[in-house]
Symmetry: C2
Subunit: 426 residues, 2 copies
């Protein structure tokens, strides 16, 4: 790196941190999650305005690779944390309801997304028609687990029954959506097809080799806490898993997510805060760079009149699919109408996760820039909707978050809270 590049690296990071900090804080003041502001900041400095002159000035081309490297590292740590915080235990006792909500809230938008894709595929230069169709289906069926957790905490709903079901449902939906995305990426055949045949080998190595190995490394953590050597081993495993998935032509986020899902969480002692706490500082510094950089690829200037029609179609498909799907899943489980609507509103927030998925689609040329831009706007709108709609529902519940959050529903019908009936029910 020349001295000039070093200077611009510092300035570029200052620009990203300042923009994401200010826009994130403004978003939170308006009752929105910070990521809404961060994405908006990226769009504003991107090519949509002034031909991207602002982004070119703040983040010159010759430091973009270094910034992207930093952002990718932040994303890998973040995706690890998402996988690591998947609490299968949380599903216990409400698995029936959560499974129904998530299956319905993934299936309907996926089907609608596929239909939409078949309709608009002709208007876009696509590399693989099947990959394109599957990708759009997957993109519609995403729920942003981390954003959802944030919204629940902000509104005091995180320790209510509604919050628990929403989180469990979102975690399951994420699993489905990642699976669909993996399928779409595979079908689109982005990289060497032969290498993808090694995916089962990779999965076997991860579950039969890496998982027990990490368990042994973390054996002493229950008693003596998490040591730097354990974190080091976890990091090496994370980077190797990222490399392996990237090498097979899948995206590294899958490798990071999977390692998070299989990493040891401790026995008597819960290690999650100790482990993710160390990564939070890194990803807190590097992740905003990812979202700002991702949003600078949005170009709303090239969206014409036809694009606006397409955006309306995409928004309708996304919102109706997700909302109706999740609502139906909850009603089938005999959840009251108001709470079913709240659940559906929460599941509709796509935030962060959608941006990650869209970036993968753009990088692998599964979608073009125009569609990417429209889908980012969709992610922004569906995420920003959640707060105001929830407020409306809260008012209808008597202005009390707990009355909205802690609903009663008939255990003997389809929905089943006790563990035993969840096995016999449905």
């Amino acid at each position: 790196m020349t001295a000039h590049q070093v200077q611009w690296l510092f300035l570029g990071l200052v620009a990203i941190l300042t923009l994401s900090g200010l826009f994130g804080a403004a978003a939170r003041r308006l009752g929105q999650p910070a990521v809404v502001g961060e994405i908006l900041a990226g769009i504003l400095i991107g090519p949509s305005l002034f031909g991207g002159a602002v982004a070119d000035a703040l983040l010159p081309a010759d430091i973009r690779p270094a910034l992207t490297a930093l952002a990718n590292l932040g994303l890998a740590l973040f995706m690890f944390a998402i996988g690591y915080e998947l609490r299968f235990a949380e599903l216990r006792g409400r698995s029936g309801l959560a499974v129904r909500v998530s299956v319905f809230s993934v299936a309907l938008p996926f089907v609608l997304g596929v239909l939409l894709a078949l309709g608009i595929a002709g208007a876009h230069p696509v590399r693989s028609r099947a990959g394109f169709v599957l990708f759009l289906g997957a993109a519609m069926s995403v729920t942003a687990f981390p954003v959802l957790a944030r919204i629940l905490a902000d509104r005091g709903l995180d320790r209510t029954r509604l919050g628990g079901v929403a989180l469990a449902g979102a975690a399951l939906s994420d699993l489905f959506a990642w699976g669909l995305l993996g399928l779409a990426v595979t079908v689109a055949g982005a990289a060497g097809q032969q290498r993808m045949l090694l995916v089962p080998v990779y999965l076997a190595v991860m579950s039969l080799g890496v998982r027990p190995l990490l368990k042994r490394v973390f054996a002493g953590a229950d008693e003596h806490g998490v040591s730097p050597a354990m974190i080091g081993a976890l990091l090496v495993a994370l980077l190797l898993s990222c490399w392996a998935t990237e090498w097979m032509g899948i995206h590294f986020i899958f490798g990071a997510f999977l390692l998070g899902a299989i990493a040891p969480r401790g026995g008597r002692r819960d290690l999650s805060t100790e482990v993710t706490g160390r990564f939070e500082a890194v990803s807190g510094l590097l992740l905003p760079a990812y979202f700002v950089l991702a949003a600078t690829r949005v170009n709303l200037a090239e969206v014409g009149l036809s694009g606006i029609g397409e955006l309306a179609l995409i928004l309708l498909t996304a919102v109706i699919g997700k909302f109706a799907g999740a609502y139906a899943g909850a009603r089938v489980s005999a959840v009251p109408k108001l709470q079913s609507a709240a659940l559906a509103t929460l599941m509709n927030a796509r935030g962060l996760t959608e941006i990650v998925i869209l970036t993968v689609g753009l990088q692998l040329a599964v979608i073009d820039t125009q569609l990417y831009s429209l889908l980012v706007v969709m992610a922004l709108v569906t995420t920003a909707m959640a707060g105001p709609v929830l407020q409306l529902l809260e008012r209808r519940a008597g202005g009390d978050a707990r009355r909205l959050g802690d609903f009663e529903y008939d255990h003997q019908s389809l929905g089943s809270v006790p563990r035993i009936s969840s096995k016999t029910g449905m």
Copy 2:
């Protein structure tokens, strides 16, 4: 970044983390600080063996800029922490002794280094003779504050009087050495000389603008703890300070160090662990990359017979200068002989800090690769010496670390422990 580069970024980081982890652990098992192992790892994969084929294979040229960016970020955070952990309060009550130890332990090696530089300047292609001479003086007079803290903790000396004096002395020595390095860099005139005239303006802005501003940002930290917004503000200030110093043609480490020195430490509540704790995870991940990358620039293969003679000269100058200087400073303060020798041994460890300084010299072309290689070896040897020599001294003190660490000395002579006499004494 292409998919290929992303893959190699992950593999490169795996290589660095694995190498630094294994060699660091091996060094610690041999009673050495981890940095000795990390530097050794870098030298072994560098051009000294097999023409650098190993480093080229593990860290390909097209990901070096991204790795260097990551390493630089880690270094900036690390230098901030060094500045932040400078405890001027620790000097209270032992300032007389610490000042004498540090002044002597900087002055003698500096003078010897200058003499050495005048002797060997003819054999090296130097950009600026005065800059070269000053740089070599500065490089000889460094003490590695962080390595010293590590050694003291490892040997159970950190809460003894010896440990306190050594730390305070090393902190002061670092201040002197950084000042000398700044002078050397300025004289060598690496970048636009006119911009350097702005250094007083920069210092004024930092102390009159940034310092009170950060104090106001951290006003609530005493009661409510350190918030993410405070950390964000601190990071932006850090990056801007790094940019400013780099832009003026000085190295960004000065900007990071200075910001650390003026950053608020809290009033009633000590914020240091909260603040540096968040950065430690980042720099713990990124800093090994810095040392490994720095050491891969060492080329011992091109050191000929004359080089070995020069290395012997450099080692003698460094060890005799530092050891005799610190010993004299302690003896003048009436510290017993054994403890004076222990202090001198500690001050002689140059570790981390020396590597940072040498890299600056190489980047600004103040020294050439051959001298860089020799000086890295010197840093390695002086650091590795400390452990065994201390063990020897401990054995002579009766095999007890506390008996070596907690010495008595005559307060009425030159050395002065109580606060009042430290103002009147000397």
